[in-house]
């Protein structure tokens, strides 16, 4: 019988746990007092967030002139950060939806926190275009609604309007998927809660979940449907983000390879961020049995693949620039590699092409410290990729008399640091308040058949 097959694979979760162990160990993260490391983390994150709030407030009060933008370079730091954060978000949906559809069982112990990461990253991303508007209090003008200005509708032919819908839908569906996946676990927390506040809070959020199998059966259907919807969604979101550039006629942006290039790059950077966060979490929260070396190894393999696609894209861009015979296109790419921003280009190439190559070696894939360091290099490289694409394509345009340089001001750097502060503040609060490992899914992959002694 299928139920009684002997598994020849290594178990997903180590430590020979029973079902109650999983509940206790995951919920204990929320129950016990925060460690000094958590306090250190949250103070650093809140300090960064404060810097961000100060920078953004100053910018909104004074105007976009506080940035280093000029007539030639009209998009730089802000949009770089936007694309960077959207990209980070993509790995969460990939883990929760695409790996679910491919029946990759190892996703169970990381999917909850990866989805949380997605939502927080998309929140960070969404802030940048709003800040860039200069008059963020009119941000609701982005939405089509009957109004007394005509009614003046938004221009649905504009990729920037597509962005609003793509990012908005992505945020709503990711949050729904995350919350929906969490309902059974919220019920677990509700049923073991000792204090009244917790009982009330989780009782309200768990929607009366009682573990009835008839509900479970339907629940699984909805979960699979959401995964099926989130999969094309995540591909569409970065495709639409790449359209912001690809539908323009700027040399260096006007490329048909942008959608797959951006999606692969997003997954590449997102997995690096998941690795960074998960390695910190498994170490500080002692989750080595749940997030095992196999999990880390699997994620590094995804990085090899997506890093390969990114490398191929860089090569394709140069080839097509040469092959097109278009002088402007050729100039932009030579300028990227050899011009005044060559340092940024070679940081990008170094981090994104060379870093993944280390992961061909099993000994490196299973060395947590080295993987952690390499994952940070990928993050840096992918930030620079967006910077290179945006700034080097703009700063030397068709008219040499209009050429200029760009360097960020303290306001822009403060806003970037602030976005990291917001991201880590939200993530650290999430770890303390919600079950960060999907207990319901981890229990299902335990294949637990033990019988306790009465």
């Amino acid at each position: 019988m299928a139920d009684h097959q002997i598994s020849i694979r290594e178990p997903q979760i180590h430590g020979n746990k029973n079902l109650n162990d999983v509940t206790n160990e995951v919920c204990n993260i929320m129950d016990r007092k925060p460690t000094w490391l958590w306090w250190l983390g949250i103070s650093l994150a809140l300090s960064a967030l404060t810097l961000g709030i100060v920078s953004v407030s100053y910018q909104i009060a004074t105007g976009i002139g506080t940035w280093g933008l000029n007539k030639t370079v009209g998009w730089a730091f802000d949009i770089t950060n936007f694309v960077f954060w959207v990209g980070i978000g993509h790995a969460g949906t990939l883990i929760s939806a695409i790996l679910f559809l491919f029946r990759q069982k190892w996703r169970t112990s990381i999917n909850r926190s990866a989805e949380a990461m997605t939502i927080f990253a998309v929140i960070c991303a969404g802030l940048f275009p709003i800040i860039h508007m200069g008059r963020p209090w009119l941000a609701y003008w982005m939405f089509p609604y009957p109004n007394f200005r005509g009614p003046l509708w938004i221009n649905f032919r504009s990729p920037l309007a597509w962005d609003v819908f793509a990012i908005g839908t992505y945020l709503i569906i990711s949050a729904t998927f995350w919350y929906f996946g969490m309902i059974p676990d919220l019920a677990t927390v509700r049923d073991r809660a000792k204090n009244k506040i917790k009982k009330f809070f989780f009782g309200a959020l768990s929607l009366g979940w009682n573990g009835s199998y008839r509900v479970w059966h339907r629940y699984e259907t909805v979960y699979a449907l959401l995964a099926g919807l989130a999969t094309p969604l995540v591909v569409s979101v970065h495709t639409v983000v790449s359209f912001d550039f690809a539908t323009s006629s700027i040399p260096g942006w006007h490329t048909t390879t942008f959608p797959p290039y951006f999606v692969a790059g997003a997954v590449f950077s997102g997995f690096a961020m998941v690795l960074t966060l998960m390695i910190i979490a498994r170490k500080t929260l002692k989750l080595e049995d749940y997030i095992t070396l196999n999990h880390i190894e699997n994620m590094t393999k995804v990085i090899i693949v997506t890093g390969g696609i990114v490398t191929a894209s860089y090569a394709t861009e140069f080839f097509i620039a040469w092959y097109s015979g278009n002088g402007f296109e050729q100039f932009v790419f030579l300028n990227r590699a050899l011009g005044p921003f060559a340092w940024a280009y070679w940081i990008m190439v170094g981090c994104n092409l060379i870093t993944p190559q280390f992961f061909w070696f099993r000994s490196i894939r299973r060395n947590v410290t080295i993987v952690f360091i390499l994952s940070i290099f990928v993050n840096i490289g992918m930030w620079f990729e967006r910077f290179v694409i945006i700034v080097t394509s703009l700063h030397r345009d068709f008219l040499p008399s209009a050429w200029s340089m760009y360097s960020p001001t303290w306001v822009e750097i403060g806003t970037l640091i602030g976005s990291f502060g917001l991201f880590f503040t939200l993530f650290l609060l999430f770890i303390r308040t919600m079950p960060m490992i999907s207990m319901g899914e981890v229990k299902a992959v335990l294949h637990y058949r033990g019988k306790e002694k009465e």
Binding site: P151, L207, Y213
Partner: protein, 168 residues
């Protein structure tokens, strides 16, 4: 009302085997309560596949209509604006937004249909055989009807599968 019988198990395999055994003895299985979605229990309980897939498609289709005709109406009927000489009905350019609207409608529609159908709502108390359902115990709720004469009583079938009856 007939009395409900409740049996408790310690792992999923005993529960599934027991469901098969009691159903073979023509005892009606009302429901099972489990800490996670047990693989293969739907077949053992003979649950029909969900209609939610069709609901999902319907909502997606409504999303498509709203997305395409909404943009058409806004851009070509209600207040047409000449933007770079593009046609009023720029259908290819409307596709990205229409796609996002499909996903949005289908996703939210399916989830809220599920909530409505299964009566899951904000702040409802959870009613279950035991608080351990959401932790580490599996419960089987049966209805004692016209059991086949030749077979053993329910409690013996349950015992044979390492379960125990729970006082109701």
């Amino acid at each position: 009302m007939e009395k409900l019988l409740i049996a408790e198990f310690q792992n999923e395999y005993d529960l599934v085997d027991s469901v098969k055994a009691v159903r073979a003895a023509e005892v009606e299985v009302v429901d099972a309560y489990t800490p996670y979605a047990v693989h293969g229990l739907d077949k053992a309980m003979d649950l029909k596949s969900s209609r939610l897939t069709r609901i999902c498609f319907t909502f997606g289709f409504i999303g498509l209509l709203v997305g395409v005709f909404g943009q058409y109406w806004v851009s070509a009927v209600n207040w047409p604006i000449n933007i770079g000489g593009r046609p009023w009905n720029s259908l290819p350019a409307f596709m990205p937004v229409a796609f996002e609207v499909i996903i949005l409608f289908a996703g939210l529609g399916t989830v809220f249909s599920f909530f409505a159908w299964r009566r899951l709502k904000y702040g409802k108390p959870g009613l279950q055989p035991s608080l351990r359902v959401t932790n580490d115990r599996f419960y089987l709720v049966m209805k004692q009807g016209q059991q086949r004469k030749s077979s053993a009583p329910v409690s013996e079938i349950v015992m044979a599968h390492h379960g125990k009856m729970v006082e109701n």
